[in-house]
Symmetry: C2
Subunit: 254 residues, 2 copies
């Protein structure tokens, strides 16, 4: 194990928090919080904006979301335990959003892990949404912001989760490379090593995870493959007064 | 990243819990809990038994431990934030225990992280103490026990900690190799990959950790090197009615 690349002269910190429940332990002095729920809430949010959604209102409970079922201009989306909640037209499938007519609509969404993490961190100075789909756009934008960055993994029911952590390691890697960022936390070093182990094949992450059986049972293979494919969007969802709106950023050509 | 080695026909589970606060999420159906606090509580406990201590009473507060200062037959040990608490003859330095006359004594110990993890998990069917010092003896014993095993990392003030997680990955690796064990949790897969990244040089783990500065400041380098050196003992501390006692096991020769 080589030492994590660190720049002793760094100006800003980039850190990883593995579970929403630990957010208070890591949130101090963090200017930007990136909420990550690769499977599938934050991937679905990026996809929804990529397909023309105007706003996304993240809500904590199914009851709040249910009030918007059938209301003109709104789409109600609710997921629990990986499945669409009964009575709702959408859950958290990004492919379902990609295939629907959502142009100009406001999506009201509640999910098992992702919207909970957003609600926990909504007091942050800035809160943005990360996924493999907008990975490069997000990383480049973070590098320009002159703020400490906390990568907040949504996990699975407050447990550690591999795909969120590997993605956090991928973003961390880009930020460290810029020379502007350093890290202090053991969790951040671990995320970087997990990314290094997984970098050649993101899909392989889930091959190692017994949780894959749940994914297969719920017929989510296509969604999962989509969610693990980097750089399909240059939109960064950002929270403004409790509502997510799309922020389009320029991705420099290599 | 290659898939974690898994045996579909395994009989028992071995899982890793990264922080004491998450213990209730991982404790179900676990027959044996291994408490891990590499730097330095569980390393100190193994060392104390190796040097003849008769019992160790883990206590939660400094006040409880303080009652034993100067009492005949007892040694009071208290550590907070890496330092010996004022008024106590010992903290959690294994080398200090190795150099003292502790033959036949009862040690009453409170530490920042390790004794807290022990107290949280004291309801487990069996609770044992793990460290690099007794790694092989512990792993071999676990393989013979016919129980699910939870590797409980003490972490640092309820945050994820690298050395505890890497050690958990090392034990997990041995248990998976036996063919009797499998895993279900993402945290367990991650611990295994962290161990694989660190296996060639355990000391390098801490070279990567900015926390090293604290270790240098407190002049703990010698202690740390000692704590990361595997297989110096074949004693497994085990909890009996709230008190840790030494269980000596045979280590088969390679």
């Amino acid at each position: 194990m080589k030492p994590a690349s660190r720049n002793p002269d760094y100006k800003y910190r980039v850190e990883v928090c593995f579970q929403p429940g630990q957010y208070p332990l890591y949130s101090q002095d963090m200017g930007i919080v990136v909420v990550i729920d690769i499977l599938r809430a934050t991937s679905a949010m990026v996809t929804a904006f990529e397909h023309g959604a105007e706003k996304i209102i993240p809500v904590g409970t199914i009851e709040e979301a249910r009030q918007y079922i059938g209301r003109s201009g709104y789409i109600a989306a609710a997921e629990r335990d990986g499945e669409v909640v009964e009575g709702f037209p959408f859950g958290n499938s990004p492919i379902a959003f990609a295939q629907a007519d959502i142009e100009g609509k406001t999506i009201v969404m509640t999910t098992t892990n992702g919207t909970r993490a957003i609600n926990l961190a909504q007091g942050a100075k800035q809160l943005v949404i990360g996924s493999f789909l907008n990975m490069t756009a997000l990383s480049n934008w973070l590098i320009t912001q002159n703020e400490n960055v906390l990568l907040l993994c949504s996990g699975w029911k407050d447990k550690f989760n591999l795909e969120d952590s590997v993605f956090a390691g991928a973003v961390m890697d880009k930020l460290l490379e810029s020379g502007k960022f350093g890290l202090e936390e053991d969790s951040s070093i671990a995320a970087k090593y997990l990314f290094m182990a997984a970098r050649d094949n993101f899909m392989s992450i889930l091959k190692a995870a017994p949780r894959r059986r749940r994914i297969e049972k719920l017929k989510l293979n296509e969604d999962v493959k989509y969610c693990l494919t980097p750089d399909q969007s240059s939109i960064i969802p950002i929270l403004r007064e409790g509502v997510l709106v799309p922020m389009e950023v320029e991705v420099p050509k290599d």
